[in-house]
């Protein structure tokens, strides 16, 4: 159970970290590479504050062993919307003021990203099913749902434009990259 060097890919770059078998991905992100956007909330995968995506799928990093991420692409809130431009989900959270204290926000956005990767045009039940594991104690759920819908619409338009090859919106390429 000794700490052993492990190479991970986080937000598009390779990082060397040390992890024993039980060390969580959240611990590695927060304590070894100073990515504190993913939050500690429960350590049992019940609150969603630590959510990141692994190869585009939302996972609870607090119960995901760091070593399970080897060979996969880890995306955290810090890696979303790089290059100074916000991802449509981030912009939608701002537009709807879908937060109060903000502590759950990174996890909410990453869970929503996992949802939109799998279902670009989610219905109400899809949103509930994907987001049920994320707690917002301030109670901004309805705003978050509205923000997810807005971001889905923006991404759908971009992807249509990209497919049709017409007047590609700036940032569309970036958005797709971010949603790996």
């Amino acid at each position: 159970m000794a700490n052993e060097p492990v190479e991970l890919r986080v937000n598009g770059r390779a990082v060397r970290v040390e992890a024993d078998e039980e060390m969580s991905l959240l611990t590695v992100l927060r304590e070894q590479i100073d990515l504190t956007g993913s939050k500690y909330g429960c350590a049992e995968g019940e609150c969603g504050a630590c959510t990141v995506t692994l190869d585009g799928t939302a996972v609870r990093s607090c119960i995901t062993p760091a070593r399970a991420a080897v060979g996969r692409e880890v995306l955290t809130i810090e890696g979303l919307g790089q290059g100074g431009e916000l991802h449509p989900l981030q912009q939608a959270f701002l537009d709807h003021e879908a937060f109060q204290c903000g502590y759950c926000t990174p996890g909410m956005i990453m869970s929503a990203l996992g949802l939109l990767n799998a279902r670009p045009d989610p219905g109400d039940q899809d949103i509930i099913a994907a987001m049920q594991g994320n707690i917002c104690r301030c109670g901004t759920y309805r705003r978050i749902t509205a923000a997810i819908r807005q971001a889905a619409d923006v991404l759908l338009v971009r992807s249509t434009e990209a497919t049709e090859g017409t007047s590609q919106a700036p940032g569309a390429e970036k958005a797709e990259k971010a949603t790996v």
Binding site: M23, T27, R30, E31, Q32, D34, L35, T36, G37, S38, K39, Y40, G41, C42, A43, E44, E46, C47, A49, T76, I77, E78, L80, G81, L86, Q90, Q91, F93, L94, E97, F99, Q100, C101, G102, Y103, C104, T105, P106, I109, I127, I128, M131, Q132, G133, N134, I135, C136, R137, C138, G139, T140, Y141, R142, R143, I144, T145
Partner: protein, 735 residues
């Protein structure tokens, strides 16, 4: 007649989120920041920094305080920044509690900013030898349109006073009436939002300092335990780990939190719990029988409620009131007294960011992140700096000073914007523990409580038992109201209805669990009991619950008028009359209203109950809220919606389970809070009263849903639920 039960005479209980009401000396100190420069700093770039001892815990106070200052200083909002919650930089503040930030702090900042505006206008007039009446103050400058002259505020400040503008602010400074507001009164974006959505905001738990270690604290089996033996040998062998022992306090520090918690698990300690009759008795108390225990264990003054007593409000005579009980209805015979008993359990705040603190000793240069120039004005001699998420930075400073026997002036508490609190972060446990570890380690130490620690070592909303006995006169007005509240607390304990014969008593009791403030304090419990009872009376009398309330809110009082206004607003939006006339099987509609801390709320709820299974679905909640002149409509709507959602948790699901002195609901998988799938349609109706001063809004909106839900459930299926939570597993309790 005694009027001792006035909320402003209840130390510690009427302040929401509250905590103790400060002694008179502290209240004086709170106002003792006489210079404009104590509150506002003018920058050469034309921006203004607001200094306030409030803290940001999600309520959006940065924005509404900035709006108040921008309005009076005639500045665009984006040129006003806020520096909050730093005991070395901001004026004394008793805490972000009791919905006081808007009515007290924002109001004071208005006066300070208006004083500055007047000062600058006067100085410009003097400089230009002009009549001040011909000057215009706008956009951060004073100008004289006739001559085209203009000067920014900053240039009207002498070089010697640029550190701190020592001119005094005046309580009489002319404020801009809400009808003329151009910055306040409009929805404004929260500047911190960008940092939230990018993950770049650093909460206390995210902070780092050079040389910092991570701490973890060994928890005894119960409060008051003493350490009998301790074997630290396994921990000491771990790389980089040190054990800190200070009396019965034991903790470890390590280079990472992971290592610290691992080291903690290797400590071998045995403890001795204090033995007493009370403690033995407590072992037999559980979540299900705690109410009998509370009623059977009166306590004197002291405890969390700090009740000085007598907790009695009396008007008229209950005997006369009951003699006048000639009302009648399908369930009400003349002479009848309606009696009912309601219970409210302990619940947990469960803030998503657990308690956390980063402490360092001997650091005058403890650094300042976030706000440019924030380090200015910090005097030397700071021996202990603690960053921590608390609602009472100055209170925690006092706790630290006491714990370590040093003067308060040598302690600095800084509060980064915090991952919520809801009245649950008034105290400084984590701060004191981190400081103890840092002292033992000789290095900065960060301590983040685990979720289990947060659930088991923080404090809870008090559990309570409420007994009500009432009688109704002809015409459906209440003539007698006897009300006993055991332990919940006295906030909003008196009815808003002018019942001529009342006996209202708050009984302090022993508490099985550690208890403290919670958003809206006992106003939630008292509204649940009172507004459930009102609904019961309406049904006994065969009256529409809205009509019954209106009959008991006669004209002629501004308070009644304000309560009637939200009742009318909410029932109109909800479609109260129409829906009730076309009621579908299994559906029910409930109503509740109330007032607390100068604001008014009314709530309508629609539920669906599946008769066979008792499964409850909350379909729709409409809440009308009035808190005087609205400062930030978007922020207010967010607060009201959030309060409704949080209220659903306390109303439907939440209860701290404990037995044999052990808290069993110690994690989220054992303590159900509202989630996406629990959220109904929510509509918020904001009633803007520009003719009335702005009141706080963080708390009172939470009191409406619980009774409205209970009333809707009764309407749907005839089952009267008087014990919270109403549907702990998603099905109605008692089914």
């Amino acid at each position: 007649m005694s009027t001792d039960l006035q909320k402003d005479r209840v130390p510690g209980a009427s302040q929401s989120g509250g905590g103790p009401t400060p002694p008179a000396a502290q209240v004086a100190a709170e106002a003792d920041a006489p210079a404009i420069g104590d509150w506002l700093r003018f920058r050469p770039d034309g921006t203004v920094e607001v200094l306030a001892g409030k803290v940001a815990v999600g309520q959006g106070i940065r924005t509404s305080l900035a709006q108040a200052v921008a309005e009076e200083l005639r500045l665009p909002l984006e040129r006003v920044r806020t520096l909050l919650g730093d005991t070395a930089l901001t004026p004394y503040d008793m805490g972000t509690v009791g919905s006081r930030s808007t009515p007290v702090t924002a109001h004071r900042l208005r006066k300070v900013a208006a004083s500055a505006r007047e000062l600058f206008a006067g100085r410009a007039a003097e400089r230009w030898q002009l009549d001040p009446a011909g000057l215009v103050v706008a956009d951060g400058s004073v100008s004289h349109p006739a001559s085209g002259r203009s000067v920014p505020y900053y240039e009207l400040i002498e070089a010697g006073e640029r550190g701190r503008l020592s001119a005094r602010w005046s309580d009489d400074a002319p404020l801009t009436p809400p009808e003329e507001w151009s910055v306040a009164g409009k929805s404004a974006r929260r500047p911190e939002g960008h940092h939230f959505v990018t993950g770049s905001h650093r909460y206390t738990s995210d902070l780092d300092r050079p040389g910092m270690l991570h701490g973890a604290v060994l928890r005894p089996p119960g409060p008051g335990a003493t350490l009998v033996s301790l074997d630290t040998s396994a921990a000491e062998e771990l790389h980089g780990v040190a054990v800190v022992r200070d009396g019965d306090f034991v903790g470890v520090v390590a280079p990472t939190r992971h290592a610290a918690r691992k080291a903690l698990s290797t400590l071998d300690a045995s403890w001795s719990l204090p033995e007493s009759e009370e403690r033995t008795e407590q072992l037999h108390v559980s979540g299900s029988n705690v109410f009998d225990y509370l009623k059977g264990h009166p306590s004197g003054p002291g405890g969390y409620h700090r009740w000085d007593g007598p907790g009695v409000f009396q008007v008229g005579s209950l005997e006369e009131g009951r003699a006048a009980a000639v009302g009648s209805g399908p369930g009400y015979e003349p002479g009848h007294t309606h009696e009912a008993r309601y219970t409210i359990p302990y619940i947990a705040h469960a803030p998503l960011e657990t308690r956390a603190a980063l402490a360092e000793w001997g650091a005058d240069d403890a650094g300042d992140e976030g706000v440019a120039g924030a380090g200015e004005g910090v005097g030397g001699g700071i021996r202990l700096t603690v960053r921590t998420g608390t609602q009472r930075p100055f209170g925690v400073r006092a706790e630290l000073a006491t714990a370590f026997g040093i003067p308060e002036e040598q302690v600095r508490v800084i509060v980064p914007d915090t991952g919520s609190a809801y009245g649950g972060k008034h105290t400084g446990e984590a701060a004191v523990e981190a400081a103890r570890l840092a002292r033992g380690a000789g290095r900065p130490v960060k301590l983040i409580w685990s979720r289990e620690e947060e659930f088991t070592w923080a404090y809870f909303r008090p559990a309570g038992l409420i007994e009500v006995s009432s009688a109704v006169a002809a015409g459906g007005t209440i003539t007698a109201w006897e009300y006993h509240n055991y332990n919940s607390g006295p906030s909003a304990i008196r009815p808003p209805y002018p019942v001529p014969n009342q006996l209202v008593v708050f009984h302090t009791t022993l508490s099985s669990l550690r208890q403290g403030s919670y958003r809206a304090l006992a106003a939630t419990a008292n509204h649940f009991a009172r507004e459930s009872h009102m609904d019961e009376l309406a049904h006994l009398l065969g009256l529409d619950p809205l009509e019954f309330r209106l009959r008991n809110l006669p004209d002629g009082s501004p308070e009644h008028e304000r309560l009637r206004a939200v009742l009318v607003a909410v029932t109109e939006r909800f479609g109260w009359a129409t829906r009730r006339s076309r009621q579908l099987p299994g559906y029910g509609y409930g109503l509740a209203c109330g007032t607390e801390k100068g604001s008014y709320v009314a709530t309508c709820v629609e539920v669906e109950v599946e008769r066979e299974t008792g499964r409850l679905r909350v379909v729709r909640v409409v809440e009308a809220f009035e808190c005087g002149a609205i400062v930030n409509p978007q922020g207010l709507a967010n607060q009201v919606e959030g309060a409704v959602v949080q209220a659903l948790g306390g109303a439907l699901f939440e209860r701290v389970e404990f037995e044999g002195g052990k808290i069993e609901s110690n994690r989220f998988s054992r303590y159900r809070v509202p989630r996406f799938g629990d959220v109904p349609e929510i509509e918020v109706v904001l009633v803007d009263r520009k003719d009335l001063p702005s009141a706080g809004a963080g708390e009172t909106p939470i009191v409406g849903p619980a009774p409205a839900l209970a009333n809707a459930i009764f309407d749907a299926c005839g089952l009267r639920l008087r014990d919270l939570p109403l549907a702990p597993t998603g099905r109605l309790a008692n089914t």
